[in-house]
């Protein structure tokens, strides 16, 4: 039996036009780090708040440790929560903030003191116990908020976009820190984010949500490489999208700016229909015209697209190359190495990719793409 079960949980806010969460089913194992990933408004926070007890499900049940907690008050649940806005108590010092839950729980003063010290060490802010929240940076405040939530030894830790208010650099370092702390303590954790990089890098499993529903649940590797729905394919990862015309639906033949492309499976659309073709940058290979002639391009399972180099961006470990194909730009990544022979701007090149790299997106999935 999993540690946390959400069973057919739905939420309809009074006066809302649409349900915020529909038929949400999830089992979270003890010690697992699970992320809810999805665009803004898809119901992540609402689901998390139902676990925390701040919202009551309109239907369904929440079980923790086998016990039905659906109607238990939030202060009886022993669930730690970290908010986007930190929510530290402004009138209390850092140490008092961290010790608040223990004090409320009637723990002896000496024990509280010891635990606070332990927590300050955990978040590497030993020196700052006497400070007040307004004297800390955003990153420090969020670490204190994490320590405060963990001090009570909660059964479950919930984080709602904890890094969204921080700037990029701190976001990445704090992300690593959260994961380290979570693994050291082995605490079951649910993490809400709209940032796919965060979700993929932190989680044991990712729950991708859209329009109040779960789209897919899986390990980051699975989600990224084997998206179950077109929405997941389009939301997770950096995609190139090209307009393509269906030529022969039965064989999966498409035409991109007059060049034939084979999809991996037959298509549902009619011949002549316009579809969006999505290509992952890291699945694309590039060769200059001369190299392209030496035979391997004829491999029947490989697709090719001819284009012209537009820009080359050096990003450290990878080099991102933009290739113009007709009126679209295809981005592709090359791993950097000292022997890499990079083409130049204006060079004619051929992009090669397998059939499985082709994702044909429906209209809904296209609409969800970032512009």
């Amino acid at each position: 039996m999993a540690f946390l079960n959400l069973i057919s949980v739905s939420k309809i806010y009074p006066n809302a036009l649409q349900p915020a969460v529909i038929d949400f089913n999830l089992n979270v194992e003890a010690g697992e780090f699970v992320s809810f990933l999805g665009p803004s408004g898809c119901g992540k926070t609402t689901t998390l708040r139902m676990v925390a007890g701040f919202e009551t499900p309109s239907a369904g049940k929440v079980l923790m440790d086998g016990k039905d907690i659906t109607n238990i008050r939030p202060n009886q649940r022993e669930i730690g929560m970290v908010f986007q806005s930190y929510a530290l108590f402004p009138n209390m010092s850092v140490a008092d903030n961290i010790g608040f839950g223990l004090k409320v729980g009637g723990k002896p003063v000496a024990e509280i003191k010891e635990r606070v010290r332990e927590m300050l060490a955990l978040i590497k802010l030993e020196e700052l116990g006497a400070r007040y929240p307004f004297q800390l940076s955003g990153g420090q405040q969020q670490r204190v908020a994490l320590a405060r939530a963990l001090a009570i030894r909660p059964k479950l830790l919930l984080l709602d976009e904890p890094l969204s208010a921080l700037d990029a650099k701190i976001r990445v370092s704090l992300r690593t820190e959260i994961r380290e702390i979570q693994q050291r303590l082995g605490i079951t954790t649910i993490y809400v984010t709209h940032d796919q990089e965060e979700a993929l890098s932190l989680s044991d499993r990712v729950v991708v949500m859209n329009n109040a529903r779960i789209e897919q649940v899986g390990a980051p590797f699975e989600i990224y490489n084997f998206p179950a729905t077109r929405f997941v394919a389009s939301f997770v990862g950096t995609l190139n999208t090209l307009t393509a015309e269906v030529v022969d639906p039965a064989t999966g033949l498409l035409s991109v700016h007059g060049q034939p492309i084979h999809a991996v499976a037959p298509l549902q659309e009619q011949a002549g229909a316009q579809v969006a073709l999505a290509l992952r940058p890291e699945l694309l290979k590039i060769s200059t015209e001369r190299q392209g002639q030496n035979g391997d391009g004829d491999d029947a399972s490989e697709n090719t697209l001819k284009g012209v180099i537009e820009t080359i961006t050096f990003l450290g470990s990878i080099v991102r190359i933009d290739v113009r194909v007709g009126d679209s730009v295809v981005k592709l990544d090359e791993f950097n190495n000292p022997h890499l022979k990079l083409p130049k701007r204006g060079d004619a090149v051929t992009i090669t990719f397998g059939r499985e790299a082709c994702l044909v997106l429906d209209r809904a999935a296209r609409a969800a793409l970032p512009a």
């Binding site: 939030p74 202060n75 022993e78 929560m81 908010f83 402004p90 009138n91 929240p133 009570i152």
Partner: protein, 296 residues
């Protein structure tokens, strides 16, 4: 009479300055800010200064505190002043108990009621005190009955119940100030998230209110209370029509019969208001950071 009015005006003046924000970096004033600041200070300070100088001139030819000695040694002064203070503190307590939970609840759970509550809180500005007091007398001088059963006996028959009525009326008068202050304080501190943070840490309602909400509302409660204090201590209409021995009517009385004493009393009450403000600030622990309304 004019001295009495002046006294109330002066008393009210300092209160809006109450939400002090230490810990903030001081802004450098542009030249024009200085000009307006100076004009403002003169506007507030000159009448006070004038009153003060005037109050020292009871003994012809010299400046002395004779007016103060005479005014303060008057037993009626002490009695009425004490009475008004008791009324003021009772009003503050009733008003806080009424307004804080209401504003908190509106903010937390019923934001759609905000316009209605704000409208009600502004009623005292629309209904003059004289109308209010006649309404109260007319309603509560008879037993209040519902279906032939007396719910509230006549209140104006005994001093005790009249005092209750007076405190209730003062609570209404102070509503706009109290509600504004508390609401502003609540808005500045993200009540909802703080409440939820406390709940997730195991806190129940009393703990949330007394350890999280109230402490962070300190300066808001303080300024609301001080405004209420100032209004009640100087209030004239309600007290005189309900015939209670309050300070406002007393000031009006000696304003009609004496020359220098009213000015001295105005200065004294002004000083006492400031003293009360400082005392409350110290008593509630005006230490680092804790004074800020809750946001950085």
């Amino acid at each position: 009479m004019s001295a009495a009015l002046e006294a109330t005006k002066i008393e009210r003046a300092p209160a809006p300055a109450a939400p002090l924000q230490p810990g903030r970096t001081r802004r450098t004033f542009a030249p024009f800010s200085w000009l307006w600041w100076t004009i403002g200070m003169l506007y507030l300070g000159l009448p006070l200064y004038g009153t003060f100088v005037f109050s020292l001139q009871k003994t012809r030819g010299t400046l002395s505190f004779a007016a103060y000695t005479s005014a303060l040694s008057e037993p009626l002064f002490l009695r009425t002043f004490l009475f008004s203070n008791i009324m003021a503190f009772s009003t503050i307590i009733v008003s806080l108990m009424l307004v804080v939970p209401t504003a908190y609840w509106v903010q937390l759970r019923a934001p759609k009621w905000r316009p209605a509550v704000e409208f009600i809180s502004l009623m005292p500005f629309v209904i003059p005190a004289i109308v209010l007091v006649f309404g109260l007398i007319k309603t509560y001088s008879r037993p209040l009955q519902l279906l032939g059963i007396t719910i509230i006996p006549p209140l104006t028959n005994s001093t005790m119940t009249t005092n209750v009525l007076l405190v209730a009326a003062y609570t209404v008068l102070s509503l706009p100030y109290m509600y504004r202050s508390v609401d502003n304080g609540l808005r500045a501190m993200d009540v909802r998230t703080l409440t939820e943070a406390a709940q997730s840490l195991g806190a129940g309602w009393p703990t949330i209110l007394f350890r999280v909400i109230f402490p962070n509302l300190r300066s808001a409660l303080l300024s609301g209370s001080l405004l209420t204090f100032a209004i009640v201590v100087g209030e004239l209409t309600l007290a005189s029509f309900l015939n209670r021995p309050a300070f406002g009517p007393y000031l009006a009385l000696i304003g009609n019969h004496q020359t220098y004493e009213p000015a001295a009393l105005a200065i004294v009450t002004f000083g006492l208001t400031w003293l009360a403000m400082i005392l409350i600030n110290v008593a509630t622990g005006g230490k680092k950071g804790a004074t800020v309304t809750g946001v950085r």
